[in-house]
């Protein structure tokens, strides 16, 4: 055992002292340098700097929009559809009660709960904590629950929330402000962060991931005009626009789908990186694996199948929409298969030096992740609190580089060949079956 360790150490020393040249490193880690670095590190770094530089002009723009918002002071509807979410509702309404924006109604839609949710919600409705409690006696799926709520909503804007999420006290105000930047903006996504970071290694890794892919990642895509997913956990929509596009269609992945629908209709979507929503994430790896499978499948189902027309030249072709989908498909799906090929080829070409390659790869990734964390610190509104996640950067390579990639790869393959999202119990069978027949 000891001999084996010394062998590896010797190998690494040999690698660094004799074999390691820039050309050798780049040719071995071409995937990292040619694909991951430019997209996920360099681009984000540049945009974050740009973001900092333009801070003042953006602040002015925001102040004007905020003034417009408060002059109009429109009624908004806060809509939280869900099943068996009763235990979270009181916490949710308490956090809404703290909001700086006050002109809102709360609609809770219960999608056929079989626990105490109806009792809790009826009590809260009676006590005036929520304005309308709607219940489907038969479970119809998240999309139908949300549509049910929209039908009875009175607000000009609809803020869609997950019942187990809670908001910063200015989150509603901040998610509404972008509507006043440009009348073409019809939907705004909020920034979702992890509330239970630190509970387990699994939640801490997700906390890091959310910061990088949501707060920074979506800020970047938003700046480039290719922002393509408004989180189901926290998003705001103009009610009229929602009705016009037929509201939500059957999921899973309905949040990405509705964003596509809005973009396709010619309107804009926006990401408010400072409108913060906290949510609990899975604490166990197998639960996380299941959740990510579900999310990943929607990329194939919606972007590749349902909205394939975005990628094709047609009368209403939009380059930004094309780019948005193409970027998503390339980096989240096609390059995953390329990565698999890259890993296999590494295994065959450098069979004798795998451990060294792995260790050096980890070091390079660790350096990259330090850069990425620096970017997070530049963008985040609560940088000091998030600094405690630094130790987890050591293992983030395994999480983002291997676990998430492998999960996505499995999900995409299953969806591509077996249409497995239509069998997901997340949706009732009756709706999934019809959705599959209709190809939506």
């Amino acid at each position: 055992m000891l001999d084996f360790c010394f062998d590896i150490l010797d190998g690494i020393i040999a690698c660094f002292t004799r074999n390691l040249s820039w050309s050798a490193v780049i040719s071995t880690y071409w995937f990292l340098f040619a694909i991951e670095f430019p997209r996920y590190y360099l681009l984000e770094f540049v945009i974050a700097i740009w973001h900092k530089i333009t801070y003042k002009s953006r602040a002015r723009k925001r102040a004007v929009a905020r003034m417009k918002l408060y002059i109009e002071n429109p009624l908004i509807t806060i809509l939280a559809p869900g099943k068996n979410e009763g235990k979270h509702i009181y916490k949710l309404v308490k956090s809404l009660n703290e909001q700086t924006y006050r002109n809102y109604e709360i609609i809770i839609v219960d999608d056929g709960s079989d626990d105490a949710t109806p009792l809790i919600c009826r009590d809260l409705e009676k006590a005036g904590y929520i304005d309308l409690y709607l219940r489907s006696n038969i479970r119809g799926g998240k999309a139908s629950a949300a549509n049910f709520g929209v039908h009875y909503a009175k607000g000009k804007y609809i803020v869609h929330l997950d019942a187990d999420s809670s908001l910063d006290r200015d989150a509603i105000e901040k998610i509404l402000i972008p509507f006043y930047y440009d009348p073409k903006i019809k939907a705004v996504g909020g920034c979702v962060k992890v509330r239970n970071a630190g509970d387990t290694l699994c939640t801490s890794m997700q906390a890091l991931e959310y910061l990088k892919t949501i707060q920074v990642g979506r800020m970047v895509t938003n700046t480039l005009g290719i922002y393509h997913i408004i989180s189901g956990a926290f998003g705001a929509f103009e009610r009229e626009k929602l009705m016009q596009i037929g509201m939500w269609d059957i999921g899973p992945g309905l949040d990405g789908d509705i964003t596509q629908k809005i973009r396709k209709s010619g309107d804009k979507v926006y990401f408010a990186e400072d409108a913060i929503c906290m949510t609990n994430v899975p604490t166990e790896w197998h639960a996380l694996f299941k959740q990510r499978q579900r999310w990943s499948k929607s990329l194939i189902r919606f972007r590749l199948r349902k909205h394939f027309d975005i990628l094709m030249p047609h009368k209403h072709f939009s380059f930004l929409n094309w780019l948005s989908n193409m970027e998503n498909l390339l980096f989240d799906c096609i390059f995953n298969y390329l990565w698999l090929f890259y890993i296999i080829s590494l295994m065959f070409v450098h069979t004798d030096k795998l451990m060294e390659i792995f260790l050096i790869g980890w070091m390079i990734r660790y350096c990259f992740s330090l850069v990425a964390f620096g970017v997070i610190m530049l963008v985040s509104e609560r940088a000091s609190e998030e600094r405690k996640l630094i130790p987890y950067l050591f293992v983030s390579t395994f999480y983002t580089g291997y676990f998430l990639r492998a999960t996505r790869l499995i999900a995409h393959t299953k969806e591509l060949f077996f249409f497995s999202s239509y069998k997901d119990p997340w949706n009732p069978k009756k709706t999934s079956d019809l959705a599959q027949i209709e190809g939506i």
Binding site: L132, S144, N147, F148
Partner: protein, 462 residues
């Protein structure tokens, strides 16, 4: 129908008053109480309401001449009696009916142990009224308070033979509850068994309630209920009316036709919309409307009332048969008519137990003119009904209306009593009773004055 009443002796030698048509016994001077022992109603007048009026005016409680006397109805009238049955002792085909004669004897056997009230006395206060009910029950061998739920009465149940006497005012009802309590406290009656728990109006204790669905926001009952439809294919959920298209159901979102429930669509909920305020909701709020007092309450505000059946104890039977019970049960009665000596006792009693800032105010006036005792008693009876919240008494042409009052409200009450007096004067004038009201004055018990002096003032000044 060539006569309205006649008296005929039955085989047992009892005089039976046979009534045909509407006869107000207490107003017929030809018939005296001692002239007859029982009543037989052969036919009623023009309508059912006349029969009802007839029976009530001859009841043990309201009737003076017929006080506690057995009363029977012709068997042919049986179908018309309905809820008035407890006021009747039986049915017979002829006044000489053997069974009827036996029943009369049975009742008289029991009446032999009962001290009758002085029939020349007016109905007096509510407690006397209740005691009359008790005496009636005992004379008929009913020793149990046969409480049962009855839709016909506003209070919802027939406690203590109150059947058919349902003109009780709210004030009387609360006194009735107290009366029952007093009977129990005195050991005259005891609870026999729990019958039922009912819910009554918190304002008037009535049980004739309508439960209505209302809008939780504006309380209106003008609601529209509509099912919502869920179209599986496109996840659209909206009211059924939005799907209606040329007699078919067509989805407003994807325009597909809905053919098969459970396959294409289902109906997951019913949604109410208020037609007054447009509020939408899933669950209506219940409101309760009381038909007796026309007030609306919430179901949670209703008062739960336990209904028990009671039974007279041996001690109770003895006390109620004699007039001993009257003093015992009515010692804390304030409102209603009292004989003058009781009236003075009550004033005295009040002076010992009243609150610091309380006093008693007496409105006294004289009936002047030519009027007989019966006429006066009628007038007093009317007064008692009209001013049931005052203590009322009569003594040698003087009428006393007494009220408890807080010192701070003394002047207001005086004004109110003055207005009442003026109103009474007008009524007396209009009725042309051959009398008029004069010499009105107020007497009140001042702080520190000895009660004997006050009592003397009340009596002496006459």
């Amino acid at each position: 129908m060539n006569y309205s009443y006649r008296i005929k002796a039955n085989p047992k030698g009892r005089n039976i008053l046979i009534v045909r048509g509407l006869v107000q016994l207490d107003n017929v001077s030809d018939i005296k109480a001692e002239d007859f022992d029982a009543i037989y109603i052969e036919d009623y007048g023009q309508s059912h309401s006349e029969l009802s009026f007839q029976l009530q005016s001859m009841s043990s409680i309201h009737g003076m001449k017929s006080h506690l006397k057995p009363r029977f109805l012709a068997a042919t009238l049986k179908p018309h009696v309905h809820q008035l049955k407890p006021l009747v002792d039986g049915f017979a085909t002829t006044p000489d009916d053997e069974k009827m004669s036996e029943r009369i004897e049975e009742i008289y056997d029991k009446l032999a142990y009962i001290d009758l009230f002085d029939i020349s006395e007016v109905r007096t206060n509510n407690y006397v009224y209740f005691l009359k009910l008790c005496k009636h029950a005992i004379s008929r061998g009913l020793y149990t308070f046969t409480t049962s739920l009855e839709a016909a009465y506003a209070q919802g149940h027939t406690a203590l033979f109150l059947a058919k006497q349902d003109s009780l005012t709210t004030n009387m009802r609360s006194e009735f509850v107290r009366f029952n309590q007093t009977l129990r406290e005195l050991g005259y009656a005891e609870r026999k068994k729990f019958e039922e728990r009912i819910h009554v109006c918190p304002h008037c204790k009535g049980s004739h309630l309508f439960y209505m669905e209302a809008c939780p926001k504006c309380d209106s009952s003008l609601l529209k209920e509509e099912p919502v439809l869920h179209h599986f294919r496109c996840a659209n959920i909206s009211p059924e009316s939005s799907y209606a298209y040329d007699g078919e159901l067509r989805c407003p979102k994807c325009h597909q036709m809905l053919r098969h429930i459970g396959v294409d669509y289902d109906r997951p909920a019913n949604v109410y919309t208020c037609q007054e305020c447009s509020h939408t909701f899933l669950h209506t709020r219940m409101k309760v409307y009381c038909t007796s007092c026309q007030k609306t309450s919430r179901p949670s505000d209703l008062l739960a009332q336990d209904i028990y059946s009671y039974e007279f104890t041996t001690e109770g039977l003895q006390a109620l048969s004699s007039n001993d019970a009257l003093l015992a049960v009515s010692k804390d009665v304030w409102a209603g008519y009292s004989r003058f000596d009781s009236f003075l006792s009550q004033i005295r009693l009040f002076s010992y137990s009243h609150e610091k800032n309380e006093s008693v105010l007496i409105n006294r006036f004289k009936l002047e003119g030519n009027v007989n005792r019966e006429g006066i008693m009628h007038f007093v009876d009317d007064l008692q009904r009209k001013y049931h919240y005052h203590n009322l008494s009569y003594n040698s042409h003087y009428i006393f209306l007494a009220a408890k009052v807080q010192h701070s409200r003394m002047e207001t009450l005086k004004k109110q009593m003055e207005e009442e007096y003026l109103e009474l004067q007008r009524i007396v004038e209009l009725r042309n009773l051959g009398t008029k009201l004069v010499d009105q004055d107020f007497l009140y018990h001042t702080e520190g004055e000895k009660i004997d002096n006050f009592i003397k003032r009340i009596s002496k000044s006459q």
